[in-house]
């Protein structure tokens, strides 16, 4: 921590939140809101004169509220920056100023009660997300009595009790009477590997953390009787099995069975009711203190950041990596990387390893001075462009030069390649590289050149739905073989004419699929998708074609199962479409899309009427 504080290349922004990120890899423009500290970080020497005069106290977050701290405080003695901070929520207030004793006591005049929040802006080439985790809160698991029974504590509270910097100076004592417990029971998998309150996944660190705690207890308080209740013991890392062995050798009892209930006795000791799966008996055990080995979960506030950066979440709520095996620290957005528990529960060694990997990946991108990007930009055909400006209106990036009456000119540096403009252009004036109208129509035609009535044509966006299809594949989720996928970068690229061409060629069903709204990789291009599909539904209905034959679905890259279900549903819908219905549709579309040329005489008549 101290290394960060003194590193010449690191600017540490505490009490800060990322508010805005724009741009792209190589050039992310960031706006950070920096909350006022009210104490000059550089001048404060952490002498503590201010604390002595502060009349206000609030719960000490660093010690999980086990003790109190003053409104002006240092979170812990080794904190970096080594400056005090004023918590305005706890303070009597600065507007109007009610107290101000701290400012008077500070000889160096480091305290400024009128300080205000500020915005900090900077540009970076890469971003590393290391927003971490939060311990599972066991209040909802009423069977363990946490919150009701004084001597039931969490693993993190145990850490603070055992710490020399903690509320008891490192003495293990019961909250009820301040006495050293004669027996301690650890309950594993609290909020992990369970349905209902809690998470379905393994917390990863809880087994080893408990084993560590048992060693600590046996080293310092060998007389305390220690029991661990578990489902399985997951001691799979290097040197971990040895730690478990040593714990057993030191007399720690391991009982395979998770207590169904904890009851408080009159003396506030606890009775644990547990089915011991080794003996097959329901047993009652006593303990003076119970420690809940609580699991790990994603930080709720990290979700705002994910939305800001268009990142993806795993169903468990952790950040989704670009590839679970081959790109484990890359996010799906180029130039953004993950480190630590934000990506999934992990211990310190794994966290450090991943953080170094993320740093390596980031440096790799930045070391060349420039990076190559796919040439998925667009070209505008000047002859076809009617200068209507619709392309600029629908472009999420504003990547066109256009003024009323002037032809549109694409701005390559801003274009991200979603292709929405091309799908919206009524004059076919825009050609996206690698995803041109002609290329996509060729795919549609090829897909339906044989047995079209057997096929469902699926348009899938590269980042979410197509990736979901890949996830389904990797997971071996089986589904009917009637679908053919056409990949576009964004669902916003799917032009009405691709869909109509598919129906014209006899496709029973067409699906347009993309990212969920907040996940769109092109800001909000998929809103154009919805608008377009809704318009087309109306058009199909007015033409006597069942709108249900055009489906719209949002599937994120982690949702392999949802992709499978969608494919099954498509197949069900496909079977409902009769050959007669298909023939009817083809007839209508032939009429609507290729109307017979009006005869010369008729045209003349029309002109006359108009005149």
């Amino acid at each position: 921590m101290a290394d960060v504080g003194r590193h010449p290349n690191i600017e540490l922004l505490t009490l800060s939140e990322v508010k805005e990120v724009s741009g792209h890899v190589g050039n992310f423009r960031v706006k950070v809101k920096r909350h006022a500290r009210y104490v000059d970080e550089k001048e404060c020497t952490a002498c503590g004169d201010c604390v002595e005069v502060c009349p206000q106290v609030g719960p000490d977050e660093f010690n999980f509220g086990l003790v109190h701290r003053h409104a002006i405080y240092q979170p812990f003695p080794q904190a970096i920056p080594a400056a005090f901070v004023l918590d305005m929520e706890t303070c009597l207030g600065n507007n109007p100023r009610a107290c101000g004793k701290c400012a008077e006591a500070c000889e160096k005049h480091c305290i400024n009660l009128d300080a205000v929040d500020s915005d900090v802006e900077f540009t970076v080439g890469t971003i590393v997300i290391a927003t971490g985790m939060e311990p599972f809160d066991p209040l909802g698991m009423t069977e363990y009595g946490y919150g009701r029974m004084k001597n039931v504590i969490t693993a993190m509270e145990f850490e603070r009790l055992a710490s020399s910097g903690g509320p008891t100076g490192g003495d293990i004592r019961r909250f009820s009477d301040g006495k050293t417990p004669k027996s301690i029971a650890f309950i594993q998998c609290v909020g992990s590997r369970c349905e209902g309150p809690g998470n379905s996944y393994c917390g990863n660190i809880c087994c080893m953390n408990t084993i560590k705690d048992t060693l600590l207890l046996k080293d310092h308080w060998p007389e305390i009787d220690v029991t661990v209740y578990y489902i399985d013991l997951r001691a799979f890392g290097k040197g971990f099995e040895e730690m478990l062995k040593r714990s057993r050798q030191l007399g720690v009892r391991y009982i395979r069975g998770i207590p169904g209930e904890v009851e408080e006795n009159e003396d506030q000791s606890l009775t644990l009711h547990v089915e011991n799966t080794e003996t097959g008996l329901v047993e009652q055990h006593q303990a003076d203190m119970v420690v809940l080995a609580t699991g790990v979960q994603p930080r709720a506030e990290a979700h705002d950041l994910n939305k800001l950066l268009s990142l993806q979440l795993h169903p468990e709520g952790f950040l989704l990596e670009a590839h679970p095996k081959l790109q484990p620290v890359d996010s799906p957005v180029r130039g953004i990387f993950y480190a630590g528990c934000a990506e999934g529960p992990k211990d310190i060694k794994e966290t450090v390893t991943q953080a170094s990997a993320a740093a390596g990946r980031a440096v790799r991108l930045m070391s060349q001075g420039e990076i190559a990007a796919d040439p998925y930009t667009v070209e505008v055909n000047e002859d076809k462009c009617k200068a209507c400006g619709l392309c600029l209106k629908v472009c999420p990036y504003g990547a066109f030069e256009w003024e009323k009456g002037a032809k549109a000119e694409p701005i390559e540096a801003l274009c991200a390649g979603c292709g929405t403009c091309a799908a919206e252009c009524r004059f076919e004036a825009i050609t996206p590289h690698q995803f041109s109208d002609a290329q996509i129509v060729a795919q549609v035609e090829a897909s339906l050149s044989q047995d079209p009535e057997q096929k469902a044509v699926v348009f899938a966006c590269n980042w979410c739905s197509y990736a979901a299809a890949d996830t389904a594949g990797v997971s071996r989720f089986q589904y009917p073989a009637n679908q053919v996928l056409i990949r576009t970068m964004c669902s916003g690229r799917v032009d009405e004419k691709f869909i109509l061409r598919a129906f014209e060629l006899g496709a029973p069903i067409v699906l347009v699929s993309g990212c969920h709204f907040v996940d769109c990789h092109y800001i909000d291009a998929n809103r154009q998708t919805v608008r377009r599909v809704e318009k087309l539904w109306d058009k199909l209905e007015s033409w006597g074609i069942r709108p249900a034959r055009l489906q719209l679905e949002w599937i994120s890259s982690a949702q392999g199962q949802r992709f499978q279900k969608t494919m099954e549903e498509l197949e069900r819908l496909r079977r409902e479409v009769t050959p007669r219905e298909i023939a009817h549709t083809r007839r209508i579309l032939k009429q609507k899309l290729h109307p017979p040329k009006p005869k010369k005489q008729a045209r003349r008549k029309g002109v006359a009427a108009h005149a």
Partner: protein, 197 residues
């Protein structure tokens, strides 16, 4: 780039990942029947060095100017095959992949006949697109040699230090008043049993 497309189609076995379900020889035979396909063959592992060399050899021998690789997802190996083409001076963007693994053999494991017919469809579609592909050039962007690290726990600290040590500027953004995160609240850490701070 000559005007007439001469498409080369390479169908990957991916060991048994694809060939265990899809009749790859049949797909290759089908590919040969398609318009503008000048060459088609199967490959045990198209992404391997011998696999890539076979593609490069075929490009030269058959004057191929459009390439279809029917293998895994383009999200997996498109960059591999693009680089392979670039090595023999073929524009990397005249490549189209047909996803016959994630999108076919792996999701229709118990229906080999249907999977084979779907693989043929996917190859036909890829060839249809390949026929119309045009050479493109990669865009280059300048990269700012600075990084933002969000979160000042052990992960953020380690990442920030590693990046900063290379000479790049790092903005370390932390919500709380100090560094350390959850790690700082731990008393001792395993496996070393030492202080967390």
């Amino acid at each position: 780039m000559p005007d007439t497309p001469r498409i080369g189609v390479f169908i990957c076995h991916c060991g048994t990942n694809i060939a265990g379900t899809v009749d790859v020889e049949k797909v290759a035979e089908f590919a040969r029947s398609l318009d503008n396909v000048a060459f088609a063959e199967t490959s045990k592992y198209a992404c391997s060095d011998p696999g890539q060399q076979a593609i490069q050899k075929a490009v030269a021998e058959h004057r191929l100017n459009r390439i279809v690789v029917a293998a895994c997802s383009p999200r997996m190996h498109e960059p591999t095959f693009r680089a392979c083409l670039a090595q023999v001076d073929l524009n990397p963007f005249v490549l189209e992949m047909a996803n016959i693994r994630e999108g076919c053999s792996w999701v229709h494991l118990r229906e080999p006949a249907l999977a084979t017919s779907k693989a043929c469809d996917l190859v036909r579609m890829a060839a249809a697109k390949a026929r119309l592909l045009e050479p493109l050039s990669v865009r280059k962007y300048p990269v700012k040699r600075a990084a933002m690290v969000v979160g000042g726990g052990i992960a953020g600290i380690q990442a920030a230090l590693d990046i900063a040590d290379t000479g790049a500027m790092v903005y370390l953004v932390e919500r709380g008043p100090c560094l350390g995160g959850t790690m700082a609240q731990l008393n001792k850490t395993y496996p070393t049993m030492d202080c967390a701070i």
